[in-house]
């Protein structure tokens, strides 16, 4: 079986409704992104959060894409949490995006939003 690596992108969110730009490079030693997932420290914060995402300047998730489209709770097995429809080249390609908080009442700030990349095909 090909080598697999999981990479985390951490996004600091300071206040309700904040919109945070982020970028990260994928590991150069892996050829493919075969899935991605996301989590927040409090699952109640997920509704209304949006994630705009580009990989190597190609639009993956358009503006207004809701974070809930790529999240699951802990009852889902770890492998099934990954949104495997995303199949892109890694090779050090840049992941750019914008995370926007959903302003759900009762959420504690600041927090770290996390995006997980599954990389395969070690070079």
């Amino acid at each position: 079986m090909a080598d697999i690596k999981y990479q985390i992108i951490k996004i600091p969110v300071a206040a309700a409704g904040e919109s945070v730009k982020f970028s990260a490079d994928t590991d150069k030693l892996f050829s493919k992104i075969t899935g991605l997932s996301a989590s927040l420290p409090d699952e109640k914060a997920i509704p209304g959060c949006t994630l705009e995402l580009k990989i190597a300047d190609k639009e993956i998730f358009p503006e207004e894409w809701e974070l809930k489209m790529i999240t699951c709770n802990q009852s889902v097995t770890p492998n099934d949490r990954f949104f495997a429809s995303v199949q892109e080249e890694a090779h050090g390609n840049r992941v750019d995006g914008r995370f926007t908080d959903g302003s759900v009442p009762g959420i504690t700030y600041p927090y770290l939003a996390k995006i997980y990349l599954r990389l395969e095909g070690k070079i």
Binding site: I46, P47, W65, C72, V76, V86, S103
Partner: protein
């Protein structure tokens, strides 16, 4: 030989529902390079502090593709303020897309999105389209 998997192209058409029993006209376009819509998903965006945690039918949606030539979607949209257990799954569709044609239709609110005092809560709906495009345009966009 196994074909290389490619990422679908996702597009969103969004509209607002501001009054109970609102009828909203939907009029949008998908980019001309998209050739097929193979999935659709409706979502009431944002957190709404509704009186009940799940509203199975917040409203009704009807969509016509290719400038009213086909009518593949007539459905209801629900809302849950409980965080999702599983990731939402696109409803299967197999709709060829002609270039530069419109997607039109309507959304009818059922007046069910209410807070604890019975007041209507305005909301936003996202329609997600999962599409395929010409192979040579699939990368480097």
């Amino acid at each position: 030989m196994e074909a290389a998997a490619t990422t679908p192209v996702w597009k969103i058409i969004q509209f607002d529902v501001t009054e109970p029993y609102d009828i909203v006209c939907i009029d949008g376009k998908l980019p001309a390079h998209l050739t097929k819509c193979k999935g659709i998903y409706f979502s009431i965006k944002n957190y709404l502090d509704t009186a009940i945690s799940e509203i199975p039918e917040a409203g009704e949606i009807s969509l016509l593709f290719n400038s009213r030539k086909t009518h593949p979607v007539h459905d209801t949209i629900g809302y849950s303020k409980v965080p999702t257990v599983k990731r939402p799954v696109f409803k299967k569709l197999s709709q060829m897309l002609l270039p530069n044609q419109t997607i039109t239709g309507f959304y009818l609110d059922y007046g069910k999105v209410l807070d604890r005092r019975g007041h209507f809560l305005p909301y936003t709906v996202n329609i997600y389209f999962e599409c395929e495009c010409f192979k040579e345009m699939n990368h480097g966009q």
